[in-house]
């Protein structure tokens, strides 16, 4: 198995964390989705994800799953319970990118707590396209277009009413 040692610039992450190249590439792609592009940041983030994970990201999918879990934990701590749920990662990523979080470097994620101003900004940027639905049905109204004709039709036991119900 190919392996490389990944040095990190982040003091909170051990400098000996390493990942197999395919997993590292998958992690880089994942974090590029958050706007990170600097090699140092990507390296630090890979280390942050794999820290304490003994398999060194042997499978790219497993590494990405780990990264997703890390980010979800981080986002829920930043965004609070209000935005918890299945779409947390997508909405949180959007908010993070819209606030240009990557410009603050990997340290934004790896430090114990995010700065207050960023937390405020990212919370305000979470896209909430619509509130919870309260389902209702708009019943299609019956309009008898020609009541006199309808009377005649009924008298002759004729055809169906002259307004259709489409649904």
């Amino acid at each position: 198995m190919d392996s490389v040692t990944t040095l990190t610039a982040c003091p909170s992450v051990p400098s000996t964390v390493w990942a197999v190249p395919r997993s590292r590439a998958a992690l880089d792609t994942f974090f590029r989705g958050f706007g990170f592009s600097d090699e140092t940041d990507l390296s630090a983030l890979a280390a942050w994800v794999l820290d304490g994970y003994s398999a060194h990201g042997g499978q790219p999918q497993a590494a990405v799953a780990l990264a997703r879990a890390r980010m979800e934990t981080w986002l829920s701590s930043v965004l609070g319970l209000e935005h918890a749920g299945p779409g947390l990662l997508a909405r949180g990523r959007a908010a993070f990118v819209l606030c240009d979080g990557a410009s603050r470097g990997a340290r934004l994620l790896t430090r114990p707590a995010a700065p207050e101003d960023f937390v405020r900004a990212v919370r305000a940027a979470v896209p909430v396209p619509a509130p919870a639905q309260v389902s209702a049905v708009m019943p299609e109204q019956q309009l008898v277009l020609w009541p006199f004709g309808e009377l005649l039709r009924r008298w002759w036991r004729g055809a169906s009413p002259d307004v259709s119900i489409s649904r």
Binding site: A90, R91, L98, P127, V128, A130, A136, M138, L143, V163
Partner: protein
């Protein structure tokens, strides 16, 4: 629930006044017309002529007496009876209701849409009642580029004003039922969250104070189903648009006040800039699909009249409340765009013919259907009147004994004809004169419209130009009416441009038939006599000049030139209301970056990508329920297979609906960029 009147005691008097006087005027005018035509006996074309005259004269008589009613209502100043207005104490209390402000859009310019939403939002916030309102942009956009641009503009807006959780955006993937379906979809998903819903158009702008007043009026009048705030045309710069804006500002209030004065709680709904009682709307205004084929069957196109009729049938009142103010929209920039809009409305209004006799409707609802039909059918009626007049004259010229004209008792009563013509013209021009009078006597109003002299000059110029443009609109509308009734398709490929100049070639192409009709009319009249040509000059001049009239009035430079000289000025231009100024400044400050290729933008721009995916994932199952597999397959092949072939419009939409495809394609691009 049976429909019953909620109208005040004075309703009978008001209605008898307007409708009775209109009927008497019509009878007198028609008898006079019959007398004039029957001097030499009555030929078949003349019988047709009298019948058409009665219809057309009845229509202008109704408009005339409505304008008189409007003038009296505005001059005497009392509020409309029948609605309970808030007291000073009640106005100070926070709103107890929840109101949604919804703006259905369809491939619109996101910059102006979201600028209007922001200005309205901020205006509501300034009233201190923001907690009672939520805002929804309901997109039916089919163009992928419009869709992505809307998402970006919505996100920017939320961040700018802190509108997260209060300004919402929803895009429908199918456009079933068009605008009515869009609104219906909203009602079925979120309608029950709100007591009232304010419906806007894509170019609507409303003052926050107006919205609060509307919500309060709905709270105080539990049987009111719809309150319509008549919108004022503002914001465009072409000469044509400025003419409409000016006419709407000077004469519009007279007409609106007149209609409100006699229709009271049986007024109509215009589809936007109105507040509706949401639960009543959900329960009673689901539109039926009409039996038969278009133009009279199928989905109801002009939904507003029908919704008002259904609301009234359910026992709720519908009010036009002109005194609300603070309600704005934009007019079409030129005559062709105006006609294009008319073509759509014409078909919708004619469809209402099949509903006139429908069971259970209030008589006034039937009246609204008929008035809507008449607003378009009047044109072909005038045209037929004109043609039958010509035919009758030619009949007299070629088939009547010329010696009979020498008999005094059989001679044509020229002074009588002139008198009837003058009365008809007077009735047509009265609303303008009444509007001008009100503007002149109201303190400060004339000064804001360029001063008394310029205001009067503007009315004169507008009247001349409107008279010249009217025959062209008569032919356009006749074409649309005949096209709808006879079932032939009226093709229209020109695009509405934002205050852009209209090319001469486009004008010539659209008006070639109108000019030919003008020449034909002159030739036919000349066969009768020279005097006949003189009678037709008001009509023929507009037709022969249709190309320069359309092209020149479409020019923004001419509109601005007129404004600089104090012509066609609106008080809303000289002293703009805050909400209008704000919308304008937002449009200028926060230009929306154009999206030239939606898929490319989503794949290359991290912000757009993240936002789009977040919005997609907020509607799970969307792609499965709406995407066409073949289009998605094609999109995937082109995006992931490295094909340089561009995506079709359908493939773009399919790709934009699929999270997996977008994620894979972006990953692939990022990887390729690094290697």
């Amino acid at each position: 629930m049976e429909a019953h009147s909620f109208s005040p005691e004075s309703a009978g008097f008001r209605r008898a006044g307007v409708l009775g006087l209109a009927a008497v005027t019509t009878v007198v005018g028609t008898l006079e017309m019959h007398r004039l035509l029957s001097a030499q006996g009555t030929s078949a074309p003349e019988v047709v002529l009298v019948f058409l005259f009665a219809l057309c004269f009845g229509w202008i008589a109704l408009s005339f007496w409505t304008a008189i009613a409007g003038f009296l209502q505005l001059a005497l100043g009392p509020r409309l009876p029948g609605l309970r207005y808030p007291s000073v104490d009640e106005e100070a209390v926070p709103l107890a209701s929840r109101t949604s402000v919804v703006m259905p859009i369809h491939n619109e310019d996101p910059a102006s849409v979201f600028a209007n939403v922001q200005a309205t939002y901020e205006s509501v916030a300034a009233t201190g009642h923001l907690d009672a309102f939520d805002f929804y942009v309901l997109s039916d956009s089919t163009r992928a580029e419009a869709w992505v641009a809307e998402e970006l503009a919505w996100s920017d807006l939320c961040r700018r004003v802190g509108g997260q959780g209060r300004i919402f955006y929803r895009r429908r993937t199918d456009n079933t039922g068009k605008k009515a379906g869009n609104l219906g979809d909203f009602c079925e998903r979120w309608g029950r969250r709100y007591d009232f819903t304010v419906v806007l158009d894509a170019d609507s702008l409303m003052d926050g104070r107006t919205l609060v007043t509307m919500a309060r009026l709905m709270e105080l009048n539990p049987r009111a189903g719809i309150l319509q705030a008549p919108p004022l045309n503002v914001g465009r710069t072409t000469l044509f648009a400025r003419l409409q804006q000016f006419a709407g500002r000077v004469y519009g209030p007279i007409v609106a006040a007149g209609a409100a004065a006699w229709q009271l709680g049986e007024s109509n709904y215009w589809g936007h800039n109105a507040i509706i009682r949401t639960e009543a709307f959900i329960n009673h205004c689901g539109l039926p699909v009409l039996p038969g084929k278009q133009p009279f069957g199928g989905h109801i196109l002009s939904h507003d009249f029908v919704e008002a009729a259904l609301m009234r049938r359910a026992g709720y009142t519908v009010w036009l409340v002109p005194e609300l103010g603070g309600s704005y929209e934009q007019p079409p920039p030129n005559l062709l765009a105006y006609a294009q809009r008319d073509r759509r409305w014409c078909q919708g209004n004619l469809q209402h013919l099949s509903l006139v006799m429908a069971g259970g409707l209030h008589p006034f609802s039937r009246g609204h259907f008929l008035m809507g039909v008449m607003s378009y059918v009047a044109s072909p009626l005038w045209l037929l009147f004109l043609l039958s007049g010509l035919v009758a004259a030619l009949h007299d010229r070629f088939f009547l004994d010329v010696h009979s004209l020498d008999t005094a008792s059989l001679a044509f009563d020229a002074p009588g004809s002139l008198r009837l013509f003058a009365v008809s013209m007077g009735m047509l021009l009265t609303p303008k004169l009444l509007g001008l009078t009100l503007a002149l006597v109201r303190p400060g109003e004339a000064a804001k419209m360029g001063g008394r002299v310029r205001l009067t000059l503007s009315v004169l110029l507008e009247s001349v130009l409107a008279s010249l443009l009217a025959p062209v609109m008569m032919l356009f509308q006749s074409h649309f009416v005949f096209g709808t009734i006879l079932g032939y398709r009226v093709n229209w490929s020109s695009q509405q441009r934002e205050d852009a100049d209209l090319p001469w070639a486009e004008g010539a192409r659209r008006h070639a038939a109108h000019m030919a009709a003008g020449v034909g009319l002159v030739a036919a009249a000349a066969l009768v006599n020279a005097a006949m040509v003189a009678w037709l000059i008001p009509v023929v001049a507009g037709l022969l000049l249709s190309v320069p009239l359309t092209v020149l009035t479409a020019r923004s430079s001419l509109g601005q030139w007129a404004a600089r000289r104090g012509l066609f000025l609106l008080p809303e231009e000289t002293e703009p209301p805050e909400v209008l100024e704000r919308a304008q400044s937002i449009t200028e400050e926060h230009a929306v970056e154009p999206v030239s290729d939606a898929v490319e933008r989503v794949l290359t721009d991290a912000k757009t990508h993240a936002l789009h995916l977040a919005l997609l994932e907020s509607q799970p199952g969307l792609a499965e329920s709406t995407s066409t597999p073949a289009a998605l397959e094609g999109a995937r092949r082109k995006l992931l297979g490295g094909s340089a072939e561009p995506l079709s419009a359908q493939e773009k939409v399919a790709a934009l609906l699929d999270v997996g495809t977008l994620s894979e394609a972006r990953e692939q691009r990022l990887t390729r960029a690094l290697s």
